[in-house]
């Protein structure tokens, strides 16, 4: 229930756009993209190295991603806490 905004962004791309993933990431100001070994499409975009400043820019980036024709959907990545045992 915490739902804190983070600078982690996950997108699902249209089939035809999978090969443009890295290009798309760079165009939208992300460092690179990482393919997950499961599921069909969630491709997390890796944030540049300054997480704290980036956190305010993320909503704006998310909107631009949603308008990008190659993007099928943008998955929210709210932050929550985990504890060492």
């Amino acid at each position: 229930g915490e739902g804190i905004i983070t600078n982690h962004v996950v997108v699902r791309l249209h089939e035809s756009a999978h090969d443009d993933a890295h290009q798309l990431a760079v165009e939208h100001g992300f460092q690179s993209v990482r393919k997950l070994p499961f599921g069909e499409g969630p491709l997390p975009l890796l944030p540049p190295m300054s997480p704290r400043r980036e956190a305010n820019a993320v909503p704006r980036k998310r909107q631009r991603l949603q308008k990008d024709s190659r993007v099928m959907s943008v998955l929210e990545q709210p932050g929550f806490s985990r504890q060492k045992r």
Partner: protein
Amino acid sequence: GYRDLNEMEVNISDPLFNKQWYLVNTGQADGTPGLDLNVAEAWGLGYTGRGVTIAIMDDGIDYLHPDLASNYNADASYDFSSNDPYPFPRYTDDWFNSHGTRCAGEVSAAANNNICGVGVAYNSKVAGIRMLDQPFMTDIIEASSISHMPQVIDIYSASWGPTDDGRTVDGPRELTLQAMADGVNKGRGGKGSIYVWASGDGGSYDDCNCDGYASSMWTISINSAINDGRTALYDESCSSTLASTFSNGRKRNPEAGVATTDLYGNCTLRHSGTSAAAPEAAGVFALALEANPDLTWRDMQHLSVLTSKRNQLHDEVHQWRRNGVGLEFNHLFGYGVLDAGGMVKMSHEWKTVPERFHCVAGSIQDNHKIQSGGRLVLTIDTDACQGKDNFVRYLEHVQAVVTVNASRRGDLNINMTSPMGTKSILLSRRPRDDDAKVGFDKWPFMTTHTWGEDPRGTWVMEVGFQGPEAQRGVLKEWTLMLHGTQSAPYIDQVVRDYQSKLAMSKKEELEEELDEAVERSLKSLLSKN
């Protein structure tokens, strides 16, 4: 049935080895001799974890540590906190990020190099997945970690989870669930990734069934005992725990702590908290995988049930009980302490268990009031999908998917009794949980206590309140999910030790199968006449 300690030559010369009572307990720090993981027998048979990779998902690993460097698997390591392949812990002056390095030592610290102690699987490879050291956790970081290189990493060890404050109900989100499902189905070439979880540090105020990672069927949830068999003060308890290993947890005596590697080339005697439980178990599973690389994720759970021992574990709160097929369990320790010697011997000749099936045994969807001073009793009669393709005859996991709200969630108490009479505590009282809004929404309470039982018949659920003040609530849904095999899982196994749980279970299965065969033939005779 224990062998004399002197019989087992363990030629390990590392300076801290004699302090690692969880490996060989000779009574150090008022401990109980013989109460350990019985690694000496496994090592004596030649199993030390060769060819197996264990990933520590935590705050990083000091992979330059002289006791870890030789076993470090750099290719299988990654840092999801900073997005680079170097999961070295971030420095803080209070060494806050020593957690992962300590866990790594318990699994894979090298032997006979005159540094610190030794890992349970001292010839295994350890990978670091740094994923706890960023401002917040996100679903994508967890999912990326749990699905990292599943064809290279065999075992994932996790000593973290939702906050153990006795008022949290939380678990894996969407992508992480997908990652776990993918791991157990496709990891290790289809044999399934082995996920090991430390059950929690919340003590008697918490219930690890409220931790969706620990209570998942896809993770092996491990609790911990201290060196004399008592519970650690921070131990939680729940019906989803499968077995136990060791940690410190009650005594001031530093020698009763867990000795392992520490940051920057150091050693420690004081690795505390239940976090040591998971890597110790991961080490035992690595020995089993060396004995039989074809073990599936389900085989590992069956072997844990069959070879874990009550030994001298003592729980003041919950009695040890037997389930309907004679398997002894405890609500905190599960089926007991892992026995590495027993496990590698059984693993070596183990035949993978039959196919797993899933049956929705029944569902109650209407609202039922719960009042203080009384108990709501509901029943579901089921034939466990008999006659259909997904008939479940021999249980593995059982889930009660429950939706319930209450004026004080923490005072809720839920029990479930199987047709063979085994009562599982699905939810204990959590005095600090004052939630009156969220409740439990389709929460999968899981029990391992009915392992091996025949699920056909009447299941009984009792819901009530425990606490000083009157409360009220509404149960809106109870769906009973059965998971297990159609054919007897132990009937084809090789029995060497006729005192073992395997021998008992196999005999039980033979009798059951014989009875049912006779019954079938009688019915067909009668119908012909």
